[in-house]
Symmetry: C2
Subunit: 364 residues, 2 copies
């Protein structure tokens, strides 16, 4: 008999949360019943799951009694508080926040890349940062054949990566500017930061807060998450990774220019890389300069795949290439990757907390 799952979505009312509901509806997961959880502010709202009204409840530790699977997208502090409570109650948590990603007991998963790491889970599985996911989906099949020693990425990140309110702010600012009025910024680049700047018709080279070394936390995440996902060690020295993250006035769909070096003497050509990408899982190769075919955010919106184009050799450095990568940051970058992880957990019959792990993440 097929096992059916009691599923809870934590943070159900946000930009990612509403997409988690949609992606779960379209998934292969047999859902026995669904709980939609959010903060007290959103509790009482009615949303739909597969055509049925569901009232959003305020999340409490007891919300997770009887739940098998939690899809969490309520932000870091929400996951810090509730993920251990859910695991304690026997639920497996797939968490879209950055809270647990660097924990050595938490697999950080992109199914196309490191599905095998799911087997080691102790109750929490982390979903990587949006800009990391689309990059590793494109790089992993290349690494598998030709090795990977260096990555330099510059991001062009959409407003919705900072949530529904940042996306709305971009549209309001744009309307104001086009009407000759002043733009008001209250959310970007970082809601909690001291200064806020308009994104409309502008570029903001700050995503998340600054670290002491001059990198932003977003850049730090791309570096260490890429190493953990692709090389099994968040501080791996087998690959050099550097990122510059920039917010651009686009609502949905992150772009990335990715420079990468394969193993010295790999012998790879651009045609080899294109051939690999054309067959890689989760990748759509859109690469035909003659026909002006290349990935664009407006075409990627609403799709689950990662789109890759502009694949070409570095003209002066051997075994090195450039490419342009675009994906819907709310789907493959968040909701779809989370549901995809859950699908794989179901398929592999891994929706259970190991006996000795129930209190692993609970702090005193």
């Amino acid at each position: 008999m097929t096992r059916e799952y009691s599923v809870a979505i934590l943070g159900a009312t946000g930009a990612v949360g509403t997409r988690l509901i949609e992606q779960l509806e379209q998934s292969t997961i047999p859902v026995k019943n669904i709980k939609l959880l959010a903060s007290s502010r959103s509790a009482g709202k009615t949303l739909q799951f597969k055509g049925t009204d569901v009232v959003v409840e305020e999340a409490t530790p007891e919300s997770f009694d009887g739940v098998d699977l939690v899809l969490a997208s309520g932000g870091g502090s929400v996951s810090a508080r509730f993920a251990p409570e859910a695991v304690k109650r026997g639920a497996v948590v797939v968490d879209n926040s950055s809270q647990w990603r660097m924990n050595d007991d938490v697999p950080l998963i992109v199914p196309e890349v490191n599905e095998a790491d799911l087997k080691q889970h102790q109750g929490i599985i982390a979903n990587p940062n949006c800009s990391t996911i689309q990059m590793v989906v494109a790089l992993a099949p290349i690494k598998a054949k030709y090795g990977l020693t260096r990555v330099i990425v510059s991001t062009y990140q959409a407003a919705s990566g900072a949530g529904q309110s940042a996306w709305q702010e971009l549209v309001s600012e744009t309307d104001a500017h086009n009407a000759g009025k002043e733009m008001h910024a209250e959310i970007l680049p970082v809601k909690s930061a001291k200064h806020h700047y308009p994104l409309a018709y502008n570029l903001l080279p700050q995503i998340d807060v600054f670290e002491e070394d001059g990198y932003t936390h977003e850049e730090w995440k791309m570096i260490h998450e890429t190493k953990k996902i692709m090389f099994g060690d968040k501080n791996s020295k087998a690959v050099k990774v550097t990122a510059t993250a920039v917010r651009v006035p686009v609502p949905i769909g992150h772009g990335e220019t990715v420079y990468f070096e394969t193993d010295a003497g790999s012998g790879a050509t651009a045609a080899d890389i294109q051939a690999i990408l054309s067959e890689a899982p989760g990748v759509v190769l859109e690469d035909n300069p003659k026909e002006q075919l290349y990935p664009q955010p407006i075409n990627a919106e609403g799709k689950r795949e990662t789109f890759v184009g502009r694949v070409r050799p570095d003209l002066e450095n051997d075994d090195s290439f450039h490419m342009w990568v675009v994906s819907d940051n709310l789907l493959k970058g968040a909701a779809w990757n989370t549901v995809q992880i859950a699908e794989r957990l179901v398929d592999l019959d891994l929706v259970r907390v190991p006996e000795d792990a129930a209190n692993k993440f609970v702090t005193a």
Copy 2:
């Protein structure tokens, strides 16, 4: 007695042309009289120079009789036709098109970087591509002290780089999209190309046409112009340069993420680089993460300087750094650099065509 100059502006009615007039008005050049030249379509319009009405004339070869100095921004084919005619008549041409940049008899000038090359001019001086100029202004003072062996740049280029009409198209598309209407694209990415795509709320990884090797001509220009300006040879092997050029939905102000390697063992630190940039001509260092201070296009608009921030070391590659560079593409990227070249020609008393060069650029 101070020499006064008869100046012609070719392509006076475009986005750059109107700024050429403004920058010339504000310059130190003693202007005896001014001619505003354009295509027959714009002839008859009235513009102002220093408060006086000037009627735009249709450019013909004879327009340049008696002219000392031509500031040209009418596009490649216009410069191909008229620059030789102007030089033949004794006028020195500072040309903002790409037509003459790679010609070995034409100095390609960014005054802060290679002013000395002006002395070799044969009647035509070329103004580099907008995205090249701001990058070399930032890199040159670093190279002077620590050397420069490699550059990888990703651009975030504004719509106005493709002219006034592209900029207007961005605004119209944005209005349409915000009103729930369909967007119509007729100009970007390249007016003469087969396909046109909306830029509003989108990213277009194509600027100018594609070359056979998969690079766009814009990327090709950044590579070879950087080598010619900074290393005196458009094919110099002393430095590796690669570019990816992306159009972003910003009206004015190009952004660039620039990765660069100084000489092996240079010993440079990020603080050293910042110190150099804080005193470099034409550069404003805006680099204080604690105060969220970094360059933004909306702050650079209307300014002549190149703004640099986010200076930080590559964490895994010695002697290597990243920075973020922003400048007004219509000013330092075009009109101001052109007028600045003209100012230097005047100061160095170089506004004269060498005797043996009068027919140098005329084709049979």
